[in-house]
Amino acid sequence: MFEKSLYDLIRGLRAHKGNEKAYIAQSLQECRTEAKSNDMDIKCAAILKLIYLEMFGYSMSWASFHVLEVMSSQKFVQKRVGYLAAVQSFRLDTDVLMLATNLLKKDLSSPNQFELSLAINGLSHIVSPSLARDLTPDLIAKMNHSNPYIRKKAVLVMYKIFLQFPEALRTSFPRLRERLEDNDETVISATVNVICELARKNPKNYLPLAPQLFKLLTTSKNNWMTIKIIKLFASLTPLEPRLVKKLVPPISNIIKTTPAMSLLYECINGLISGGLLTYLADTPDGEDLATLCVNKLRGFLVVEGDSNLKYVALLALTKLTKTHGYLVAAEKDVILECIDDEDVSIRLRALELVVGMVDVEILQQVVGRLLRQLKPVSQQELEEEERREREREYEEDEEDGEEELTTKAPEGRKAGAVSLPDDYKDGVIRRILEMCSKDTYANMPDFEWYIDVLVQLVRYCPGESTKGGGAGQGLDDEDFEEAFMAGGGKVDVGEEIGRELRNVAVRVKTVRRPATEAAELLVGRSSTMFPASGGGGRRVLLAAAWLVGEFAEHLRNPNETIDSLLQTSNASLPPDVVATYVQTIPKVYSYLTSNDSIAWTPQRKSVVTLLTNRVVEFLESLSSSPHLEVQERAVGFLEIFRLAKEAIAEQPANGAVYKDGDEEGLQDEYDPPLILTQAIPSLFHGFELNPVAPRAQRKVPVPDNLDLDAAINPQLAFLLSSADYDAGTVEDVDFAGAKAADEEFEKFYYQKPVVIVETAAQRIDRAAATAGNHTTEKNHGSYQSGEDTYLDPDIVARRKAERRERNKDDPFYIGSNATSGRTSPNPLGGEHFDIDSIPIMKLELGDGGVDLVKGSVRGGAAVPRVKVEIAGDEGEGEDDGEEKAVATAGGVGSMRRKGKKGRGRDILNVDSSNLVGFSLEEPEEDLLAQEEDVAKAKKEVEKLRGEMARAAERVRVASTQQTIEVAPTVSQQPTEVAKKKKKKPVKDDDGGDGETKKVKKKKKKDGTTTAGEPLVAVGGAGEEEAEETKPVVKKKKKKRRSSIAEAGGGAGEDAR
């Protein structure tokens, strides 16, 4: 004997460290020959080895026939190996599965309980529709086996059978129901398990079981089962609200008394997900219950050292926020602690929860905490890191100081102990954006603060997912595509930040200036505003550049900005950013040059010429860009600027010498060239941009006096045309009705819906009022003074300067003395209070003060301490219902698609679409139809015949029988196919009177399919095989008949 045993194989593997691959290849080769051996022992050993190797990814699908041989061995040891191999390697499309039916039947009737259990367990893995159909009767019998060991397994395997062969559910349900009364607890538990799975697919069927289940719930001592029963009830309660009242006492009793954490948690979870709390929402009972739950969950959160409980508690609280947000919000102290938990999983859960419960009061606090997390290391550590780094090799510019420090941060972190995974950082940033922008900024107390946060976030952006050419190096279009694909189609987080910045600038007019200035900073100092490594956050420039162009009038320093826009290094930015730059440059240019009130002096002329030349140069360099979008825009604008250049050259300047030759020839007044003052600006003038809801177009209201069914009203034509023209050009229209309509139209389109936000003043007032009683917030509760702990120093400095500037005009503001030398917020310490932490002073005057300042030039002009208008999406609202309907329709559609396509994406998904909506009762109308519509059936048979030809294309013939795949989503597809198959040979068998027989069969079929379902024609190669399959089929037919009778009986019983 030279064959290796499994033991030898494992030893061999361990002995061949390093070249296992070769060893395995050799072993596989040996197995191939051994598997063909006539000696069952050798064959079995080979299969066992193959199972072992399969675990490491070496497929053994080729050996399936040998597996079957081993399965049918007489020896239990070998049989067991065979079944194990089948379990591990058989798939639904394994062809030898067809041959396993008889073997399984035999093993299922084995007197040996272990063989029997082996077969049941094996079947639970390899069951196919045809196996399920053929073995159902045997298994139903086993559900009444004398040995509970077999009963529990037989019950459990039924679920797998139902998945493949839903009809079995009708036949076996009465038996299944009996098992709920079994005298063995494990059998009951298994039954509950099966019903629990089934109830999720179609809860309606199992409502009649409620009394039995309820009894189990109150009497059971088995926590495992109680958990399942609660889960089961959670599926049932939405259908039967009366259950809720009944369930609440026992469940709350369990919550109060059980010592098992899992049961406690599942009770709470069941209350939430079963909709019990929602149902009881505004009743005192419901409130009590919800409070009880939240208290228990709080207990979970504060338990020391058990992170699992924390995790599940957060999960439950997240679900609870939807109905009882205020109760959850009351626990914010413990929840916020979890944001900083050392376990990233818990952090993420907490984050998710916090996003749901955040409100005006805690928004800044939460964001502050998160920013502090993102902040790499403390300042000193950072400096040390920096120093070490310098010592190592960096001989870089040291005068950059502060800026450098922050931008080096990511590198420092890499070396440091605290390293957060990039996807976590990414997630945190997204969450921050999400919670800040929630409900159109309903929770935003201070938009300037938000803008600063956004700028800060840019620095914390993780690197781009594909670092291909390294930072600063532009990526190709294709690369970008790939990068997006790799990111799961997610938008780059930098781009998200940019969107927020743009959103704020567009929606909140009062902070448009600061937002534009922030964008200006980003564009202008792009080299230092971003993380040094990875090129993360660069895509924020997309929006920043747009902002700079669109709101050029708010720029702090337009000259410098256009300078930085024209840097040649910009060409290496991502192509879509460059394209935006190309668009932005003319806008800023236009802002700089279009002012015709500035005298056209020689200096002015030369400055403009210089600028134009630079623009032309820059655009020229891009006009051969490989990126189409960039190229097209560049070429277009290039032409315009060349024209401008010529026009400038030709337009003489005031007081210029060369043309007139006259030194004092000031008599000729020259204006700037028209192309600068008129042509280029007109490219960018138009209506102001307002946010518009994505579906707004569909919601343009039909005017009251417009009847769409009537002949087209002249007003409509007017409305349509007026939409194309400026509102001013329509004066000549004379009829009044149109004017009214026009006004309405105007109102709808051009006036913003106003969302009034409570003033920050009132808010902070309130916060201050409550601060006294809130002792827990001592450390994290300060809203303003903590800023410098999470914002970078330069941003903080800017904020302070701005605040000082803003408050200069405020007579009530206690100005910061220049000599006070404020260093750090020092709330405890002596005379130096941080002025910024006393916002109450200026809040007092709130509304009154602002009117005075409103018109002023710069800085504090439009400080949003007053009511901030946030422009909502135009056309938002109203038919949300429809939207939802569409959404759900889409959801269902995609689900179906998934069910059909199967394993591609959702690899572990169990395809249970067969059971969804499957009714236990045979549809009655079908039974009636069956009686009457014989003629119809005949017709259908004809139709089927016609379709047979088409179906034949989809038929695959596999060994002796054919496997049939039917494309359309027919939920009971397999069974129909199966019946069809049976029907065919039967017809041939009966020969002469085939026609009538066929119709009868047809009837039977109708009985088990649902009413309007399309009948799918299959069959095809049936004829040739009839001879071989005859005997088998006959037997099957009989069985089928009896089982259907049983089914009918069962269903009837059930109905009663």
Binding site: T186, W224, D343, G488, S894, S912
Partner: protein, 200 residues
Amino acid sequence: MINAVLVFNNNGQPRLSKFYSQIDVNLQQRLLSEIFTLVANRPPSACNFLPLPPLLQKTSSEALSDTDQPTRIIYRHYATLYFIIIADDLESELGLLDLIQVFVECLDRIFENVCELDLIFNFETLHQVLAEMIQGGGVVEVDRATIVESVKKAAKVTKRPQAMLPDTTPRAGSPSSGRSTPPVSMGHRGSFTSYVLSLG
């Protein structure tokens, strides 16, 4: 439904893989390595729930409760081995944690101070124990004594060759040199909280 039970060691080498839905061998391996990457980086103090690996993440944000999607991955780490269960939301997270514990304790009773090597050389027994506990994705038995008894009884039925019997596995004789995972007892008893009290 439980979707899969996996056991692998600290190096990510599989010791047991059982999938309750049929998936391709290559996908199995990919999933295994993705989960290993997730689990290997976790500190011991972290909670026992894993986020879904990329392979299992859904593209769209569908309602979780309506599908059989695996939504939870629960793991426990014993000495050199990770035990993983992937399940959907009809299973209780905390219950599954206990289920792993039951599994390990059963193995411990069968092998007496079970160690990784026991599992390597008796991987068939490992499968048997699991089959007594979980059948086709549903939990069938959680009582340790019953499970152990069934496995032992079944072993008596088999007239298996001596070398295959768990008790006589030549543990010491195996070449453990160059092996990064020496036979270490899992030493787990009492070190974990039980969430489902009826276990005892």
